[in-house]
Symmetry: C2
Subunit: 589 residues, 2 copies
């Protein structure tokens, strides 16, 4: 059985030492001093390790069952869900007007990482609700908010997002689900939706589906899509549950992982739906919560990497096999722990340096979302640019980290008993949902990069330059040197797109995926440089545990020396242009 | 359901146009003209696609069951196994004196790739037999060969390899299984072995276990290990089956993939065993068949990548989503097939260029094994050097290719119905067994590279140089340029090991994994350069289908432009030395 220890120390480092949350002038941040956030993290960590993590492997084995239209979640999920509701975790960053705790989004992420590491399939039930709550909060009428939000924020009702249909996932302009206007102002929703996470389950009294559908006679394609609220049980004016609505779960998807979460085929058969937001503006409504949703998936990738790494490190310190080539480290034992072997360490350092760097990037991104919510347009532009990077890079690397951790265990990593293979299977979906990572790269290069004349990209470059200018010391050279070089590669790639993309759009699009990874490395490089600066300052000031700062510096130096040079490879691929990628006729594949 | 089309055209290209098998002076090669090998491939391809592939998904779902000590394989496996025996496939490259067909090992690999693509879990039953047959053939007495080989070559008995114990896998010096000499010259074998593939099953009348054990009083560590034959049923002098031996299956491992293959815990309880080869020389006996076994696992990785790629390409040509940014390609349909999108193509080209390059490398390696068997010492030295590269690189990249193919399918790739996720799960074990890829890299850098004063490595460099010298034309520059550069990176890495490794062994070992990948890329670069040369010659001569040669050239150019530059990244990591990898105290992980 795998174990999980909540990394509260490291999260607290990022929140307080790196991001200085307690000093932020943003609304809702005044209370977030070190004592308070430590307390929140401790509580969440306890719930994650004591309640959620023990259900993870069992939930994977048992999975969900569809019985007479009802989905039964794995044993223990109902009790755990109640504990999450009772702790007020679902509404952590929700509007206090509807029962939320009003904390910033970054706290939701800090806590969320631990919940996802402990039990990703379980946490998705509330994760999906979070998206639906945001949508209703941002676009619902006052009456809709009053009707749905208090119950959803408390967790007694959950929410879903219904986008995909059998013939369309990415290309939503093709959706066929129809919404026919009724005399009472409601709509009759008819169609089939697939891959609906938590579409049906036994954890809550009601499920509030948010459904994309087309009102007949509207514009073609994505411009004719509207968003609807379709409750599983209709809700009376007094908030009481009424008739069962015409929405049913037609089947559960059998899949590679996240077996504890019900992935549903949903049938809408003239179900009563209520328009939310403006008619035909459903895509816009969806997009307003896209940054949060995508950052949340990036965090899932990171979280799976994090728990996998922990188990790999524990195994490597425990398993005795072979001898340290420079001399036995455990001479009285039959062999040395495998952590003495350089190649085992190489794998562990790759895992550790990604997890800590990625954590910093995700939480920094979350503070940008908080700033954007507070009206900071520069933060809004920057996080829009960074969102596909955070989603794509953290999920690709999170999966890779889980695979590396599995490899640390050798044969044991392939067996179910050790649990590493579940982290790999669960992490795999994060590269796909909320827009595949290929779609993220398209969004990055075709939309985000050129937005506002490249303003946000320029701001990132300026941020790197300023940091390097302000930290000229020799002790920072191992960080600023590689960071400058990575940033130069990123600039060169952007320049290549600018020069070639106007002549041939495929030249830029053939390099979009490599650009996302190039950017991801540069962003992690910036995070590590910032963490190094803080660590050196703390060491100099004699604050805290020197071993913590020294480990941080050593881990950062590994990332700069061994991982950041990947930017040159991505640049080489990008500048090779479209020809190698596009030369073959489709028939030749 | 995934599909599989046997890639006989491409395998035939490698065998005849690239490796010129029909012209080889090696023993047993005289018959291998184009017509004959085409016929063999057609027959094997038919068996793979019509019999083995249809059982793959079902075998994964059903798995194996242990019932009263007997393992039941999935439905249909018995019939399929009989078909494989009837076709004479198990003994394809075995000694005709024992009923084999006497073909070279390369033909076994060419056929094996298809069998593994079609159904990896199933094919392992005969794959393990193959290793045991080789061991008995190489080290058994005449009487042992006469007793066991005819039945094993025919497939009515199968074989296993028993190495791992709960506390040791890589470090076999620690094994505890005991072999106590008996008065009749046999040994009583007692101990527990784990992760024994095909350790027990219902496909054959008897199972011949090859077991590593220690004779009490022998030398410590690996120098005191001997190899024993332990049949499930003892065999009478007339070849008839006698008493059940004291070896039983104590349990089946639950694992991530290859569910159709029984991974057994084996209990030896005073079982009767017969020494094979010399006393205390069991490791040496195991090592003589290591090259074949490891190349076979590399081929498994490649084969999973190959079938995954096929399904990804078919999906990409069929799935309609979005529009070609340069203009609609399917204007009458609701959207274009996703193969029009550059990023989808990027993924497919990565898959295709690996699969075709890797196939060439594996089959070239097999011809080196054939040459080594015929007494060619240079070939023996070269394949010893290349074996860890082929095993490690083809399995890492085979898995990566399966993951990429899964990604091409988006959400569908995560569901069981489409079958891609099974290829990913099955491919994952290849990075682990027959020595983890980390152990391969250690073998490469610490043993193979310095062997005989680096003779084999020098031979590889000379081979690259000679090829580039002999092919100076402009039409080859897109291949020889990157190849030279990759070879230079490989030389620089070797030089770094030479200079730093003597002072600090960790400096070389910290770079071993990157060296393996650097070498793998350089080797695939050489393969692509050779394939390009053949393709240009055929085009110039007007032989064959021009579209085939042009596709080969375009695929090769992609590999050289987009994949080969990875050598510089691996070199940068290697030359960063041991410090970044080894700096942290074990406690800090």
């Amino acid at each position: 059985m795998p174990s999980y220890a909540a990394p509260t120390r490291d999260i607290q480092f990022v929140l307080q030492d790196l991001l200085r949350l307690g000093e932020s002038p943003l609304p809702g941040h005044a209370d977030l001093d070190a004592d308070f956030t430590a307390q929140v993290l401790e509580e969440a960590g306890r719930l994650a390790t004591e309640v959620l993590a023990p259900l993870n492997a069992a939930g994977d084995r048992q999975g969900c069952r569809l019985e007479n239209g009802t989905v039964r979640t794995p044993d223990g999920f109902r009790e755990a869900y109640r504990a999450v509701c009772d702790g007020g975790w679902i509404g952590l960053d929700c509007d206090p007007d509807y029962g939320g705790q009003g904390m910033p989004y970054v706290m939701n992420c800090a806590v969320g990482e631990m919940f996802v590491s402990a039990n990703m399939a379980f946490n998705m039930y509330q994760g999906l609700s979070h998206g639906a709550i945001s949508a209703i909060h941002a676009h619902g009428s006052d009456a809709q908010k009053a009707t749905y939000l208090p119950k959803m924020v408390a967790g007694s009702w959950s929410g879903t997002m219904n986008l995909t249909e059998p013939h369309c996932g990415t290309d939503l302009g093709l959706i066929r689900t129809k919404a026919e206007p009724q005399e009472d102002g409601s709509y009759a929703i008819t169609g089939q939706k697939i891959w609906i996470s938590a579409g049906e389950h036994d954890l809550t009294e009601n499920i509030i589906h948010l459904v994309l559908a087309k009102i007949p006679g509207g514009p073609e394609g994505v411009k004719g899509i509207s968003l609807f609220i379709v409750p599983k049980f209709l809700v009376g004016e007094d908030g009481s549950l009424g008739d069962r609505n015409g929405v049913t779960c037609g089947g559960l998807e059998e899949k590679m992982g996240i077996h504890g979460n019900a992935t549903c085929v949903m049938h809408y058969d003239g179900a009563t739906g209520f328009l939310i937001g403006e008619m035909h503006k459903g895509m816009r409504a969806m997009f307003t919560m896209m940054n949060e949703a995508r950052l949340g998936v990036g965090l899932q990738g990171l979280a799976q990497g994090s728990v996998a790494y922990q188990n790999a490190a524990a195994f490597a310190k425990d398993r005795l096999q072979g001898r340290d080539v420079t001399g036995a480290k455990n001479p009285d034992g039959p062999a040395d722990p495998i952590i003495v072997h350089p190649d085992v360490r190489r794998g562990l350092m790759m895992q550790k340096s990604f997890v800590e760097g990625g954590r910093a990037l995700a939480l920094w991104g979350a503070t940008l979302i908080d700033a954007a919510h507070a009206g900071d347009e520069d933060a809004e532009a920057l996080i829009s640019l960074l969102t596909p990077v955070i989603k794509g890079f953290l999920t690709d690397k999170g999966f890779e980290t889980a695979v590396l951790a599995q490899q640390t265990l050798g044969g044991a990593g392939f067996t179910r008993d050790w649990g590493l293979e579940q982290f790999v299977r669960d992490a795999r979906i994060t590269m796909v949902y909320e827009g595949t990572n290929g779609v993220q790269s398209l969004d990055l290069v075709a939309r985000k990069l050129p937005a506002q004349g490249g303003k946000a990209m320029m701001a990132f470059f300026e941020m790197v330059k300023a940091f390097c200018r302000e930290n000229p010391g020799d002790d920072m050279a191992a960080f600023t040197g590689p960071l400058k070089s990575a940033s130069k590669d990123l600039q060169a790639a952007g320049m290549f797109f600018l020069q070639s993309g106007t002549k041939d759009p495929n030249a830029a699009l053939s390099g979009s995926y490599d650009f996302l990874h190039l950017f991801g490395h540069a962003a992690l490089g910036l995070m590590w440089a910032r963490m190094a600066k803080v660590s050196l300052e703390k060491l100099a000031a004699g604050e805290g545990d020197p071993a913590f700062w020294q480990a941080k510096l050593a881990t950062g130096r590994f990332y700069m020396a061994r991982q950041l040079p990947a930017t040159a490879l991505h640049l080489a691929r990008i500048t090779s242009g479209a020809e190698p990628v596009m030369a073959l006729e489709a028939d030749a594949f």
